[in-house]
């Protein structure tokens, strides 16, 4: 075990997987000498060379599309798209091609591709850098969607992504890159997809989150415990597709209350999916309607005061929990 920042844990995962599997190569804007926009790939060019760490022009569609082509030809590329908002430039390649080629070819062509991107607000990056759209990608069958909240998970899940035969959308929260945590250095350390993690045990309410919102949920849980004598159980989903709803349902059957926290917009967002699933599977155990704590219905503003006003806060989570009692 070593204490690593999230970006270092991600880099360790890339390094170990590239050493293990010569079919893995990386493509993206500024991932070489520059080391990546969030310094995840720093140093990899020096170790693996330009053939395996390839800087690309600013052309998201060909970055993903060439990744798809190389995957079809037997490689396992990773492409980096800087931020989730920029991934829209490649949405056709991701949704109409990467997600569908296996189905459209009746199982003949699969696309083992890892697409990494950053998401999330709180870093003052404005409306075209900062949204949390994990749920959007989770909507598409054919894609797997991974969104770690902790350095160890980031490493174990990213390594696992390179063992998958499908396209994995790997989404990292910008506010988490500097987050430190203990990370196993075992090269076989993998975290299976579709396994939510109970990051705090409690008996009174279940708070569900993923990526950045797990940390809001944990801060809210501390406030609830210290000030309100409410013990919250906090669940980190870790992957949205496949989704481990069983862990959530089991927890709700114990706590009888459920709050979903996410940085995405509420209307049509992933929190609504969790709420619907909890009602389908645990309706009779609920003492209150499932609550959702999400972003305000506005594009993300730049000014810090405005940005915090748009994002859900731990106070919002606390209020949502207390309203259930």
């Amino acid at each position: 075990m070593a204490v690593l920042r999230m970006r270092d844990a991600l880099r360790e995962a890339l390094r170990e997987e590239m050493r293990r599997n010569p079919k893995i190569f990386l493509m993206g804007e500024d991932i070489g000498k520059y080391g990546g926009s969030y310094a995840v790939t720093a140093g990899l060019l020096e170790e693996f060379g330009e053939e395996r760490v390839r800087d690309t022009p600013i052309a998201e569609s060909v970055i993903v599309g060439a990744g798809i082509g190389a995957a079809m030809a037997g490689y396992h590329p990773m492409v980096e798209l800087m931020t989730i908002n920029f991934s829209f430039l490649a949405l056709d390649q991701i949704v109409n091609n990467a997600a569908k080629l296996l189905y459209m070819s009746n199982g003949q062509i699969n696309v083992p591709l890892v697409i990494r991107m950053a998401s999330g607000g709180g870093s003052q990056l404005g409306a075209t850098h900062s949204h949390s759209l994990e749920g959007l990608y989770a909507h598409f069958p054919g894609l797997k969607v991974v969104c770690p909240a902790f350095p160890a998970d980031a490493k174990g899940l990213l390594k696992r992504a390179f063992r998958d035969q499908n396209t994995v959308i790997f989404i990292e929260h910008t506010a988490n890159y500097g987050l430190r945590g203990e990370v196993p250095d075992d090269p076989d350390f993998l975290i299976e997809f579709g396994q939510a993690n109970i990051v705090r045990e409690g008996r009174d309410v279940t708070i569900v989150g993923y990526s950045g919102s797990v940390h809001q949920a944990l801060r809210a849980a501390e406030i609830l415990a210290e000030q309100e004598e409410v013990e919250a159980e906090v669940i980190d989903l870790r992957t949205l597709r496949p989704l481990d709803i069983a862990t959530v349902v089991e927890s709700v059957k114990k706590t009888n209350r459920c709050v979903v926290v996410e940085d995405d917009w509420k209307f049509g967002g992933f929190a609504g999916e969790i709420a619907a699933l909890v009602m389908e599977h645990a309706f009779d155990w609920l003492d209150a309607p499932v609550a959702r704590v999400c972003s305000k219905d506005v594009p993300m503003p730049y000014n810090r005061t405005l940005e915090y006003a748009a994002l859900p806060s731990e106070e919002d989570v606390v209020d949502a929990v207390l309203a259930m009692f």
Partner: protein, 341 residues
């Protein structure tokens, strides 16, 4: 008679030298062009009978397609075709029966097993990669396939095809730019048939030729008469050979003409002057090829008639056989969303 026979043979040898193609290859050209056309005609009939929901064909583009595909090494090179490229796929080994299964959306259609619209050609074993209905998206895949081949040290060429309409899309430009930067072995083969559904080329692009677009990418480019199968082969073959040796990508524009409407759902009388169509119909690549090889005495009329009879029988068999094949079952809709880990 004997003298005439000798003259014919002598001329034939001369012509063969000009073509740089063997008699067998010329026969192959005629066979594939004709097979594609006859299959497409039967597909359209099946559509009008209510048996094939949708048909999109390449009538008028067969010479471009066959000439280009024959310049590739089958089994080694990759083909990323577009939806009009039936003839190319036939050259790459797709059978008439398979093409008919495809247009009927049958359970055993090897292209997609009834999952994609017809004419989204695919056969991994033959190195044909499928495409989306969004035009030009296969061009960026071709770049990736070439990149993979480069990493593996394989000397192969990827031919990526589209119509001239697709060259206005960002994917076309992103693919050319990327391929040119890394000098990847990709032949971008554009079949300029004059129309993007109803829009004429002058409404699609400000430059007179698609090939002009190559200049921005410092890429080799060529324009060829796409109604002339031999000329297409002779233009594409040296480009393929050069790309295989590491000479970088090519943009080749084959000027051809869409002799039919855009698809079975289209009525082209709304936008296309009949006179223009009649003029181009006189240049029908299959008729022109037939007349030329006959006039040049490449092979006797009986040889051509033999090919024609063979194609008729092959198409008849394919239709009859494919119609009798099973449709997919409802539960077949649910498989192959994810590949097992």
């Amino acid at each position: 008679m004997a003298t005439r026979e000798r003259t014919r043979k002598a001329r034939s040898r001369e012509q063969r030298h000009d073509y740089l193609l063997s008699e067998a290859q010329l026969e192959e050209m005629y066979y594939y062009m004709l097979l594609a056309r006859r299959l497409s005609e039967r597909m359209l009939i099946l559509n009008r009978q209510g048996r094939a929901p949708f048909v999109i064909a390449g009538a008028g583009q067969e010479a471009a397609q066959v000439g280009a595909a024959m310049a590739l090494e089958r089994g080694t090179d990759y083909l990323a075709p577009y939806y009009r490229d039936l003839a190319m796929n036939l050259v790459f080994g797709m059978t008439a029966r398979e093409a008919m299964l495809n247009v009927l959306g049958k359970r055993d259609d090897p292209n997609s097993y009834g999952r994609q619209m017809p004419a989204h050609w695919s056969s991994p074993a033959r190195r044909i990669v499928t495409q989306s209905s969004v035009v030009a998206t296969q061009l960026v895949h071709a770049v990736g396939i070439a990149l993979g081949a480069r990493l593996r040290g394989e000397q192969l060429v990827v031919m990526a095809c589209c119509g001239e309409g697709a060259t206005s899309r960002g994917d076309f430009h992103e693919a050319l730019n990327f391929a040119a930067i890394h000098r990847l072995p990709v032949i971008f083969f554009v079949e300029n048939n004059g129309y993007a559904i109803s829009e004429r080329t002058e409404k699609e692009m400000p430059v007179p030729h698609v090939a002009d677009r190559a200049r921005a990418y410092d890429m080799h480019a060529a324009i060829v008469d796409g109604m002339d199968c031999v000329a297409v082969y002779q233009t594409v073959k040296p480009a393929v050979d050069q790309a295989r040796r590491g000479g970088g990508p090519w943009l080749i524009e084959a000027k051809c003409y869409r002799l039919w409407a855009h698809s079975s759902e289209d009525d082209d009388t709304r936008y296309r002057p009949r006179k223009e169509l009649e003029e181009w119909a006189k240049k029908d690549p299959i008729t022109v090829f037939r007349e030329r090889v006959l006039a040049d005495g490449i092979f006797p009329r009986e040889d051509l008639e033999e090919i024609e009879a063979h194609v008729e029988e092959e198409v008849r068999d394919a239709v009859e056989w494919a119609l009798a094949q099973p449709d997919p079952a409802p539960e077949d809709a649910l498989t192959h969303v994810y590949k097992e880990y």
